[in-house]
């Protein structure tokens, strides 16, 4: 086979070839497994996020339940119930009411805005926020007040025209991540008459600079009201803010005037337009559509009557259609009715309200048809046939929406007719996803731009990034497990006939999915959550060994602790609503009432006296009031082998 030397060479190069193949093969396998692990982590984050949103809607049912069944609560304390439903007749307040008593001290070194605002104020704010300065409450209120005035003039849908020389940029969810907004402005330029933007909702919650983002967006809006378009997202909702962190952020940054800001914000939200229509072809809305989406109706409704997704229009006399002709005074004890002489003109009709919820909450899916969005608990899943139907009906070509985090920052589906754009990079955790924005111009195809904010100057290798998001996701999942520990153990033991402490993989996965209500790849995740013996059987108690909920008082029952931990966010929201002066204290009586109601609605089977006793023992009783923040903060999870030791991971 040829002469000696060349056959040696052949053999050598054959060995090199084989060696290269081995390394490449191994590397591709390793790299694929990393990517799969990344996906698993993301699906954990997403499942829990949506399950939480579902929990939020359960809270809304609780409020309705309260009103329907405890009318005596109202009769005894009408203030209490009206407090529950927020709005205190905002329209009567004028500028003086908001700004009157607020002084800006000379010592204030933050940015000072000059009204009427100009582009220099935008620059000023950006520079100040880069240096982590806080805008004084006076300016915040002024900006909000002025924004409300201008927003009121806007129609429900803004119609925009582009041209090849004047393209428009569409951005998705920002969720308080200031770095992403600044990166977008850096790459794509500041908003101006020749550089218009649409921000498609969810500016706030979760990230830690929600108020700063709002201020930049509103100031830009006031300077360029015809070129900076803001659409309402499902998080532009004062009740969502209570659960997902924005309320907390405001109260922390604005200790003195936070409450005023929140009140005004509640109102400003309702005046945000529902959507934008570009060149009569592209519909831009936050969530999605349903088979019954009626754009003509949506153009007409009084959008400011949509206060919160948690405040559906209340039926009158058990009649489920809110017919405006039936203005019966005093036949119900509904709060809105009381304040406005029994007229229900303060509400949308049920149909109108549902239309708006669909727009703000729906998600596209591959399956044809329209189904209730069971993950989120609101809006629906809509298929490609629905998209075609609705787009054709209104002679539109494309739907751009946000609302869902995508690993690449954007995703195209339904045959190119639906585009999701999401602008908060690293949304769940550093390295979890990219952010994106879209540039559109008539006559040109849409262009997508992606980015990812990194803290370090050089980005980490893939395996490190995956490790970070994986551990973060597993941590959150374990916390979920511990908050359902009793139910999980009961389910495991039911299947463990011979009390061996072991279950098959199938049995374990079944219970996990059932009890936690999360559709996750349990088999693939099992290695992170439990120990498996050499026969492949699962030691189901091993999950609970390195993590427990801290007991604030020794003698207290574990199940009580677990329940309080599990519902801590809901309880926080309820308490926050009762605590109208944001003092952090509610009366013992209010505490008892709320607990009784909560107990019966959520069927938690905890003795009221146990909770009282707990509060007593924790010595939180300060002159007949309970410091509920202290109460709730006492229930947190301790990860035994964790450097951080106590949980500070926040999905909210």
């Amino acid at each position: 086979m040829g002469c000696g030397t060349s056959s040696v060479k052949d053999r050598k190069s054959e060995r090199v070839l084989k060696a290269a193949l081995v390394i490449q093969n191994w590397y591709r396998g390793y790299s694929a497994r990393l990517k799969a692990r990344q996906r698993y982590a993301l699906s954990i984050f997403q499942s829990i996020e949506y399950a939480d949103e579902q929990g939020q809607l359960q809270l809304s049912n609780f409020f309705s339940f309260m009103l329907e069944n405890y009318t005596h609560v109202y009769e005894k304390d009408p203030e209490f119930v009206t407090r529950l439903f927020g709005t205190t007749g905002q329209d009567d307040k004028d500028r003086q009411d908001y700004l009157g008593l607020i002084d800006i001290p000379d010592s204030y070194s933050g940015p000072r805005l000059q009204f009427p605002l100009t582009f220099t104020d935008i620059d000023l704010l950006i520079e100040a926020f880069k240096q982590q300065q806080i805008l004084h409450a006076y300016y915040v209120l002024e900006v909000l007040f002025e924004s409300k005035k201008v927003l009121k003039q806007m129609p429900n849908f803004t119609h925009v025209k582009t041209s090849p020389s004047k393209q428009i940029t569409v951005c998705g969810d920002l969720h308080g991540k200031l770095d992403d907004l600044l990166l977008i402005f850096y790459k794509n330029g500041l908003p101006s008459g020749s550089n218009p933007y649409v921000f498609n909702g969810d500016f706030v919650d979760r990230g830690k600079n929600s108020i700063e983002i709002l201020m930049i967006l509103f100031v830009s809006f006031l300077v360029y009201p015809n070129d900076l378009h803001l659409n309402r997202g499902n998080h532009e909702d004062f009740m969502m803010n209570m659960r997902y962190g924005f309320t907390k952020e405001v109260l922390l940054k604005y200790k003195l005037h936070g409450k005023k800001i929140l009140e005004l914000l509640e109102d400003v939200y309702t005046w945000l337009p529902i959507g934008t229509i570009i060149d009569n072809e592209v519909l831009v809305i936050h969530g999605g559509i349903s088979e019954s989406t009626d754009l003509n109706l949506l153009h007409r409704i009084e959008r400011n009557k949509m206060k919160s997704v948690l405040m559906p229009p209340i039926p009158i006399d058990g009649d489920h259609s809110t017919d405006l002709k039936k203005n019966k005074v005093g036949t119900t004890t509904m709060p809105q009715g009381i304040r406005t002489n029994g007229s229900f003109s303060e509400q949308l009709t049920k149909h109108e309200w549902e239309q708006v919820v669909d727009i703000l909450w729906s998600d596209p899916r591959g399956k044809r048809g329209c189904y209730p969005n069971t993950n989120r608990g609101g809006g629906c899943y809509f298929g490609p046939d629905i998209t075609s139907k609705i787009l054709n009906r209104y002679q539109l070509k494309m739907l751009i929406r946000s609302h869902e985090c995508k690993p690449e920052g954007y995703e195209i589906c339904h045959d190119g007719k639906v585009v999701t754009v999401f602008s908060a990079s690293n949304y769940y955790e550093e390295g979890s996803n990219r952010g994106a924005y879209i540039r559109l111009g008539s006559g040109t195809a849409p262009r997508f731009f992606q980015y990812q904010v990194t803290r370090a100057t050089c980005s980490r290798p893939l395996y490190q990034r995956v490790n970070i998001i994986e551990s973060s996701a597993i941590r959150i999942l374990k916390e979920r497990m511990i908050s359902r520990k009793t139910d999980l153990i009961r389910a495991f033991q039911l299947q463990d006939r011979n009390k061996s402490g072991k279950l098959s993989m199938g049995q374990w996965a079944f219970s996990m999915e059932n009890i936690l209500g999360l559709n996750l790849p349990w088999r693939s995740l099992s290695s992170h959550l439990v120990t498996t013996d050499k026969d492949g059987n699962i030691d189901y108690m091993s999950s609970f060994q390195d993590i427990h909920i801290k007991k604030p008082v020794k003698e207290v029952q574990s199940t009580l602790i677990e329940t309080l931990y599990r519902y801590r966010t809901d309880l926080q929201i309820i308490f926050n609503i009762i605590d109208s002066d944001h003092s952090g204290l509610i009366s013992m009586e209010e505490f008892h009432t709320m607990w009784k109601l909560f107990n019966s609605h959520y069927s938690v089977h905890i003795d009221d006296s146990q909770v009282d006793e707990l509060a007593e023992r924790m010595d939180l009783n300060k002159d007949g009031s309970i410091d509920f923040n202290e109460f709730l903060n006492a229930f947190h999870v301790v990860h035994k082998f964790d450097r951080l030791h106590e949980s500070d991971t926040q999905l909210a």
Binding site: K18, V22, R28, Y30, A32, G366, K367, P461
Partner: protein
């Protein structure tokens, strides 16, 4: 794998198949973005590898041909993927590379036994030999493997690190 029905082996086999089905479904669903039981064909490689198999690129193409539609649509349906993948798992095909085989492969490329490869050498071998890396794959491997000061990869440490990470 011939198993006679009515025997214990058959029962064990059935249970194994059921578990494989569930595992395959899980791995598939994570990439099924639109929840319509299809995945982009470009993600099939990742799915198969995430299930612990290590086909070469050539073997992967063969597998894809088996699961594709007659008229390729760019999407793979679960109904077609499941039986093919189950067989792969039952037959224990495309077993992963053992650690020492991997080490020996690096040693072949480093005949002088220095204990490392220079960045240029690694790039040359990975992008010119065997089933060459794409630029993206090369950059990705370099980002984790390269010692930036020496511009080289100490393969023994690298392998150890990767193995630990996977376990």
């Amino acid at each position: 794998m011939k198993v006679s029905s009515g025997s214990i082996e058959f029962l064990v086999h059935e249970i194994a198949v059921a578990e494989f089905h569930k595992k395959i479904k899980e791995a598939f669903e994570v990439f099924d973005h639109e929840s319509n039981n299809t995945v982009d064909v470009r993600e099939i490689g990742t799915i198969i590898r995430s299930l612990g198999c290590c086909p070469s690129e050539g073997e992967l193409q063969d597998l894809i041909a088996e699961v594709e539609e007659e008229e390729p649509t760019g999407y793979i349906r679960f109904e077609k993927f499941l039986p093919v993948m189950t067989k792969v798992l039952l037959e224990r095909r495309y077993r992963p590379i053992p650690e020492d085989t991997l080490l020996r492969a690096f040693e072949v490329l480093d005949p002088a036994k220095r204990g490392f490869l220079s960045k240029e050498e690694l790039i040359k071998y990975m992008t010119e030999e065997g089933e060459p890396f794409s630029q993206e794959e090369m950059e990705e491997m370099l980002s984790a493997a390269i010692d930036p000061e020496a511009n080289s990869i100490h393969y023994k440490d690298y392998i150890t690190m990767m193995v630990i990470d996977e376990n």
